[in-house]
C-alpha cells in the first residue's frame, strides 16, 4: 500500500485535478456572468453536450482542433442566444426554459451523434503543451505547466472574469442589472442588451467547456458525455458566491475529489466504485446547503425584467 502515496502518485493526482477542473471552470465562469446579470441558465449541461459533440465531430472528420473549439464556441453562443431569447425577450420562467435548453441539448447531441458517427470513437485531442522553463520546476512544473492549451485557457479566464466584473464599466452594468434592473434601466443601461450579452457569453463558454471534455480531456463522445457536470458547474457558481476566484476554488475542490475517486477505482481500493462515483454529487448537495446560508445571490436572479409596472 505504501506505493499508493509516493510523491509521483500525488503529483499525478494533483495534475489530473488541475486538468479535470477545466470544464467546470469554463462553464461556471460563463454561468457566473449570466447569474450576475440576473439570468439563471439551467441549460448549461445541454449546451456543453452540444459543444462537446460539435468539437468532437470536427476533430473526428478533419483533425482540426482549433476548428473544433471554434465550432463548439459558436454552437454554444447560438444556444446561449436561444436561452436569452426565451428568458429575456419572451420573459419566460428561467428555470423551466433552462431545463428545456438542457433537454434539447441532451437529445440533439445524441441524435446528431447517432446520425453522423453512430459508434463510440476516439480522437487525438489537444496534446500536452509544456510551458518552457516553468514546466521544469520540480513538483509544480508537472502539476501546473504540463497541460494542454484548453486547460491553460480555463485558468486564464479566471483573472479576466474577475477584472471584467470588478474593474470595468461593463462589469458595473452587469452587477447593477442583476441587483436592481429597474435602477439600471433608469440610468440608460439596457437590461436586455446586458443580459443577452452575458447569457450568450455563458453559452459560448459552456460550448468550450463541452469541447474541453470531448477533444482535450476524454477525447471521446458518447450519449450524455457530461454526466451532469454542467449542473455541478451551476452549483459551483452558488458555492463561489458569484465571485470568479471562489468559483475557481470550488472547481478545484470538485476536480480533486473527482481525480481521487478515479484514482481510488484505478488502484482498486476496497471501496465500491458506485460510492466513489457518487462522491462529487454528494459533495454538490453538501456545498449547496452550506453556501445557501453564506452569501446572498444577486437580488434579481431568475427574475424577468419588464418595464411596465
Amino acid at each position: 500500500m505504501e506505493d499508493l502515496f509516493t510523491g509521483s502518485v500525488l503529483i499525478g493526482l494533483l495534475a489530473s485535478a488541475i486538468r479535470l477542473a477545466t470544464p467546470y471552470l469554463y462553464a461556471a465562469i460563463g454561468e457566473t456572468f449570466g447569474q450576475r446579470s440576473g439570468v439563471l441558465n439551467l441549460g448549461v449541461d445541454g449546451i456543453m453536450l452540444m459543444g462537446a459533440f460539435s468539437a468532437f465531430y470536427v476533430v473526428f472528420k478533419t483533425g482540426d482542433l482549433v476548428g473544433g473549439v471554434l465550432l463548439a464556441a459558436l454552437v454554444g453562443l447560438l444556444m446561449g442566444l436561444l436561452m436569452a431569447f426565451i428568458s429575456v425577450t419572451l420573459s419566460a420562467e428561467q428555470g423551466i426554459s433552462g431545463i428545456g435548453v438542457y433537454l434539447f441539448g441532451l437529445g440533439m447531441s445524441d441524435l446528431l451523434f447517432q446520425k453522423l458517427i453512430n459508434n463510440v470513437q476516439t480522437v487525438s485531442g489537444f496534446p500536452v503543451a509544456p510551458i518552457p522553463l516553468l514546466s521544469e520546476i520540480p513538483v509544480l512544473g508537472p502539476i501546473l505547466f504540463r497541460q494542454n492549451v484548453l486547460v491553460y485557457g480555463a485558468y486564464i479566464l479566471v483573472p479576466i472574469a474577475w477584472f471584467v466584473l470588478n474593474k470595468t464599466t461593463l462589469g458595473l452594468k452587469i452587477k447593477a442589472v442583476g441587483e436592481n434592473p429597474e435602477a439600471a434601466d433608469t440610468l440608460g443601461v439596457s437590461v436586455s442588451r446586458i443580459r443577452y450579452f452575458t447569457v450568450s457569453l455563458g453559452g459560448m463558454l459552456s460550448g468550450i467547456a463541452g469541447a474541453s471534455l470531448s477533444i482535450a480531456l476524454l477525447n471521446v463522445f458518447q450519449f450524455n458525455l457530461t454526466n451532469g457536470l454542467g449542473f455541478i458547474a451551476i452549483a459551483l457558481v452558488y458555492f463561489g458566491g458569484w465571485r470568479p476566484t471562489w468559483v475557481l476554488l470550488g472547481s478545484l475542490i470538485f476536480s480533486f475529489v473527482n481525480a481521487l475517486q478515479i484514482w481510488v477505482q484505478v488502484v482498486g481500493l476496497p471501496i465500491p466504485s458506485d460510492i466513489a462515483v457518487m462522491t462529487p454529487y454528494i459533495l454538490t448537495i453538501v456545498v449547496l446547503v452550506i453556501s445557501a446560508q453564506r452569501v446572498r445571490p444577486p437580488s434579481a436572479l431568475s427574475k424577468a425584467y419588464e418595464r411596465l409596472e
Binding site: 464599466t169 458595473l172 447593477a176 435602477a183 440610468l187 440608460g188
Partner: protein, 521 residues
Amino acid sequence: MTQKQILPSGNPRIDRLEMQGIVKRFPGVLANDHVNFDVNAFEVHALLGENGAGKSTLMKQLYGLYHPDQGQIIFDGEPRLIHSPRDAINLGIGMIHQHFMLVDSLTVAENVALGLPSTRGIMTDLDRVTKRICELAEVYGLDVEPDAYIWQLSVGQQQKVEIIKALYRGAALLILDEPTAVLTPQEVDDFFVTLTKMANDGHALIFISHKLHEVMAFTHRVTVLRDGKNVGTVNTVDTNKNLLAEMMVGRPLNFIRNYKTIKCGNPRLKVENLSALSDRGVPALKNVSFEVCAGEVLGLAGVSGNGQPELAQVIAGLRPSTSGKIMIDDENLTGSTPMQVIDKGVAYIPEKRNVEGLIKEFSVSENLIMRDLDQEIYSRNAFLNMGNIAKRSADLVKTFNVKTPSIDTPIKSLSGGNAQKVILAREISRQPKVLIAAQPTRGVDIGATEYIHERIIEQRETGTATLLISEDLDEIFALSDRIAVIFHGEIMGVVDRKDATLQSIGLMMAGEQPPETKTAE
C-alpha cells in the same frame, strides 16, 4: 439658438419645458387624456393627484420610460422626442423615483458612475467620479460618502445620492416622485432646504405629491390631475389645502377631528420585553414593551425598516419571538399559531396587503371568507356552502362599500383602495378585540383613506384596542390617542397625542431620546 445659461453644477439651464396635449393609453385605461403641463427655471411646480390620477404616467413619458400616444414635449421652444431615459438624461432631465433607483450592493460612486462612459475606456474611473461627487456635494450641501455602500446609508442619505446622481448626469430639470414619503420630518426639512436652493439657482423642479401641506409649504404652482385629466393649474399662494383636496377628489372631504375621547379601560393588548429577529437573522425588535387598552388607538410611528413589520408579524403569530410576552386580556398569546391568535380576537391588516393580506388571483368573495372557512356555515364535511359564502360576501361588499363589478372578480383587478377595503371588511366584521393595522392607507386614494380612517375610529368606539402602525405622521396624529415611536427595533418613547408635536416625534424617529418622557397613565 441662444447660448444657454449655466447652472452652479456646470449644467446648462432649461428655461422652459412644456408638455402639450399628452395622451397615453394602456389596455383598458386612458391614463393621460390631453394633459398639459409646464415648468420653468427657478420654479417648483407641484403635480398633485390621487393614486391612479396619471401623475407618474405623465412623468414617465417625460423621462422616456413610456412614450406618448399623442401630444408633444417642448424644450425651450423646440419639440423633442424622448425615446429612452438616456435621451431624457441627455436633455438635462433627472428623475428621483419614489422607490430609489440605487443598487444596494454597490458604492455611492459606483451607483453614480453606472451607465456613464468612463474616461478610461472600458475601465472604470471611480476616483474621478468620486472627485466630481465631492464637488457637487459641496455646491449643494449634500454630504455623502462616495465610498460607502448604499445599504449602509440612511434613507435620507440615499435620497441625497439620488440627487447627486441626477446632477452628475447634467440634470437641470428634476422630477421628484413623492420624494418625502420615506423621510423623517427633519429629513424633509433638510430636503426642502436643498430643493429651494436648487430652484433659486435656476433649476426647474417638478414635485409629485399627494401631501397637501408640503405642496403648500414650498412650491410655486400646483397642477392637479384627476382621472388622467387636467383639473387646473393654480399659483400656490392663491389656494389652500381644502381647495386643493377638493380639486383632487372632486368633492369636499370631511377631515376627521375632535372625536369623542373614551376613558381608557384595562390594558387589552400588552407587549412585554418582546424581541425578535428579522428575515436576515439580525435583531429586529429589542425589548419592546407597550400597552393598548380597550377603546384606544396607539399609533406606532417610525421610519420604514425599524422593525414595524416584524412587530406586527410577531403579534399576529407569523414570526417567532426570541423573548418577551404578548398578552391579550391577561391571556398569554406568546408562541401561538396564527389560527390561535385569530381565535383570541386579533384582527390583522398587514403592511404588504398583496402578499400577506390577499391572494390576488382569488375572487373578492374567496378573499373575504378565507379566514372563516372552517366555520360550519361556510363549509361542512369538506364541502363549501356556496350559497352562504355568496350571501355573506355580497353583504360585506355592500357594507364596506367595496367597488367591484361582482363578488367573483379577482382581487387583482381592484384598485388599491378597494382591495384594502376587502381586507378591512374581512378583519373588522368579526368584532375583534385587538386590531393591528399596518400602513392601512399606504397607496390608497384619499377617498378610501377617509373611509378606512372612519372605520378605525368606529372600531375604537366599540372598544377595540388598535395598534396603528404607520409611516404617515398625518395619519398617526389624526387617529391616535397615544403615539409610540420605534427606532432600530426599540420603542423610543410613548407620548399622549395632545403632548406630541411633529418636532418631538420626528426627533424620536431619528433615534433621539425624548427630552422628557411623558408616558400616558
